[in-house]
Symmetry: none
Subunit: 226 residues, 2 copies
DNA sequence: GAAAAAATGTAAGAAAATTTTAAGAATTTT
DNA sequence: AAAATTCTTAAAATTTTCTTACATTTTTTC
């Protein structure tokens, strides 16, 4: 979990860092909004803690900057206790939560955890890039392949070949193309390596040799998944 | 409930003691910061009341001392009324509340009770940071690992590796990713350090070499806990 | 502060799994 | 039926992981 912490009061930023590192978060600490913007542009953040009142751009503008970039991770605002409530309400638009200073560090940690939990809960469902083909389910990140909910153990090359075919569903892919995409090197002649791998994949997918269901041979051209 | 009270004005410390003892708290009263540090190091405290301005180390430094030791009990600061507000804000960082002198003793008692209540509330929630995997129980904060209620002594690196895998349960983690997350430095080639640690963890978890139950090898990709 | 113990890192050979090769069999097209 | 292409098989080659022993570093103990 990458957390951005922005506060021009060095002590507060340091304190937040101390507590959150203790919880195994990776902290991107900054004392200026310029620095914060640099992190927002370059790091894949999961959460931001912003002081409302800082020199230069204020926390609210940073918050707006994040939302304008269509980034959806949670934002927690820090506000001084003195500020009046209406003002705070206005400034925390776009943020998910706000905490008044001086704050109880345990409360901060608890709120960060809660926000992170909510965020990942929503995100997990969208994140998973899966391909469904009939009874076949291919999960790219997990490097997993399920056939009617039963796991099929594929070797790295087998997995890459199946994934490439699945990603190009409906199109015929030649042995040459497959080789160059999967091995990432030039295809040399009289090489039936691809063919042997295809055969093993078919075997693992329990294909009917005569009439394969998933990987079909297009005679004289290559293979395809329909 | 053990409460530390630090104030070099004897009368105030005595007053606080009087009121809090009446509420059945056990008071560790001190007039100097040296004495306070001795108590912090030796007594399992539940709350501290610190005067900001005292001879020698000031209350803020004692507060920092407590937080740097990763002690999380609430701290209430006492401040003279004259001090300006911004300064107080800065100085009360890490503290949970502050009270200006002269104060109403009943208010003090009320705030102490409130702080104690919040503390136990947040703490209960955080206590539950455990991961359960079959007969394996990993306690993040306690840095402890139990296998069927029997403690498994893991070294820091071993613990971090197991925790990372457990936190990413279901996903394959490559040696490279593991190395960069646990060691926090760039992964260099022909490096089987991770592998050796995995082996040692498996040994301690009494894994069947041929068919490990917890840490599985995903050939050509990495390791995973299912 | 030195000695002992524990933890971590390294390297090399063994073991296991994957990948490639090659040659004959089967299938499809002409 | 002949030619072209694909399939099958098994063994050789390669890659990756495992194991082991020992060197080095860090931590603990006295």
């Amino acid at each position: 979990m990458n957390v951005l912490v922005l506060d021009d009061e060095k002590e507060i930023a340091d304190l937040v860092e101390l507590y959150l590192e203790n919880e195994n978060y990776t902290i991107y600490k900054c004392y200026t909004s310029e620095q914060a913007i640099k992190y927002i542009d370059t790091v894949k953040l999961d959460l931001a803690i912003l002081d409302i009142m800082i020199k230069g751009k204020n926390g609210f503008e940073i918050c707006k900057y994040i939302r304008d970039k269509n980034l959806t991770f949670p934002i927690i605002m820090l506000t001084a206790k003195i500020e009046d409530k209406d003002k705070i309400t206005g400034l925390t638009i776009g943020a998910d939560d706000y905490i008044t200073k001086p704050f109880n560090p345990l409360e901060l940690v608890a709120r960060v955890k809660a926000a992170a939990r909510r965020y990942t809960k929503y995100n997990d469902k969208n994140e998973e890039e899966k391909i469904y083909i009939d009874g076949l389910e291919i999960s790219k990140e997990k490097h997993k392949c399920l056939l009617y909910d039963e796991e099929i153990i594929l070797t790295p090359i087998e997995f890459d070949i199946l994934l490439y075919l699945a990603n190009n569903r409906g199109n015929v892919v030649s042995s040459e193309e497959l080789f160059e995409k999967v091995w990432k090197e030039k295809y040399l002649d009289n090489n039936n390596t691809v063919m042997v791998h295809i055969r093993r994949i078919r075997e693992k997918l329990k294909e009917d040799t005569r009439k394969p269901k998933y990987i079909k041979t297009v005679w004289g051209v290559g293979y395809k998944i329909e």
